[in-house]
Amino acid sequence: MPGYTRMVIAAIGLLLFAFVLDRIRRRRMRIEYSVLWFVMALGALLLALLPDTFDALARALGIDYPPALYFLGAILFLFLILLHVSAELTRMRSQNKTLIQELSLLRARLDAAGIGTPARENDAGEADRTDLA
């Protein structure tokens, strides 16, 4: 693998690493979601540093064209990340449904008790937590 190719791959790995770290610092990504991305960045760095090892690994696995192994690895990781996102989405939809139901029941009880409920528009004034970081 030519030197400049290794440098580009290393740069991608480092950029990904820095990007995810920055997301975490700004509280824009939860730490548990960052793990798979860090592994991906690490993989890119290792590939740039030890290309011969990867080539040997590919041949040991019966892959004649070593870059195919890199793609396979990347695709598998993206797969994992997507599965993880699907699972999280399912969990959040379930929680969201419960919240909508319980909130609506509570609102009806308040209305029935004549307490009334505050106006629905509450978009303003949400604190930006990044300022606290």
């Binding site: 909508i100 139901q101 609102r107």
Partner: protein
């Protein structure tokens, strides 16, 4: 059970033209201690009409779909200690008078869930399109194979349920958000509840949007088969104390 406390539950989505009549016809029966309309995020004045007709109204702050609206009603019934939930669609396609038959059948036939079927002998109903009839036949066969029981109309929204069933539907993860179907029937069987049917009269929905319309049939069948699979590999659960199992 001498005189059970009955909640009549009506899930409704944009039914402002029908809902008042439905509520009024139920109130006339005198069987309901309370009539609850769960307004599934309607954009019309369904909630206002229902309230004016004398129903308790819970308006969902976001549209959840048919099953999500029903489950909201189950939560309400569970929290308020009702013995029986009788559920009926808000579009006027069910003949409200049958609520009495549904509730009576719970006691007379010692059932936990009574379904109002439009296909049983003695029921009078409209024609169902062929494709849908075919899908129904498949699920009917699956129900027969898995439960040994013949249920002619598993998708019916016209039902009466006893409190233990309501409690499980209200709090569990297993109740579907979209359209309860054969999966729920099989789930009830596995949990040891007794399910039966009575014939009811149904009309074709007069208002434009039945909650059963607009589904992509292929996806629906696929989803339902998966859902049934999930139920079949899921845990059997003992019936809560006080109610015999099968």
């Amino acid at each position: 059970m001498s005189s059970p406390r009955v909640l009549v539950l009506i899930p409704a989505y944009n039914e402002s033209r029908k809902i008042a009549d439905v509520v009024a016809s139920i109130a006339d029966l005198g069987v309901a201690e309370e009539i609850l309309v769960v307004d599934d995020g309607s954009s019309d004045d369904t909630a206002f009409q229902a309230r004016a007709a004398g129903a308790t109204v819970v308006s969902l702050v976001e549209n959840l779909g048919y099953g999500g609206a029903l489950q909201t009603g189950y939560r309400y019934a569970h929290a308020h200690g009702f013995d029986v939930v009788a559920q009926i669609d808000g579009d006027g396609q069910h003949d409200a008078a049958h609520i009495l038959d549904l509730v009576r059948a719970l006691d007379e036939r010692d059932l936990d869930v009574v379904l109002g079927s439009r296909f049983l002998e003695g029921s009078r109903s409209y024609d169902v399109p062929l494709a849908r009839r075919a899908g129904m036949a498949v699920f009917r066969a699956i129900i027969r194979m898995t439960t040994g029981q013949d249920i002619s109309d598993p998708t019916t929204g016209f039902q009466a349920l006893r409190a233990p069933v309501v409690a499980l539907f209200a709090t569990g993860e297993s109740y579907p958000t979209d359209y309860p179907d054969a999966d729920v029937i099989i789930l009830l069987h596995r949990w040891g509840f007794r399910v039966g049917e009575i014939p009811v009269r149904m009309f074709e929905s007069e208002t434009g949007q039945s909650m059963h319309s607009g589904l992509k049939p292929v996806f629906y069948v696929f989803k339902m088969l998966l859902s049934i699979f999930t139920v079949l590999v899921g845990p059997r659960r003992a019936t809560p104390a006080g109610d015999g199992g099968s």
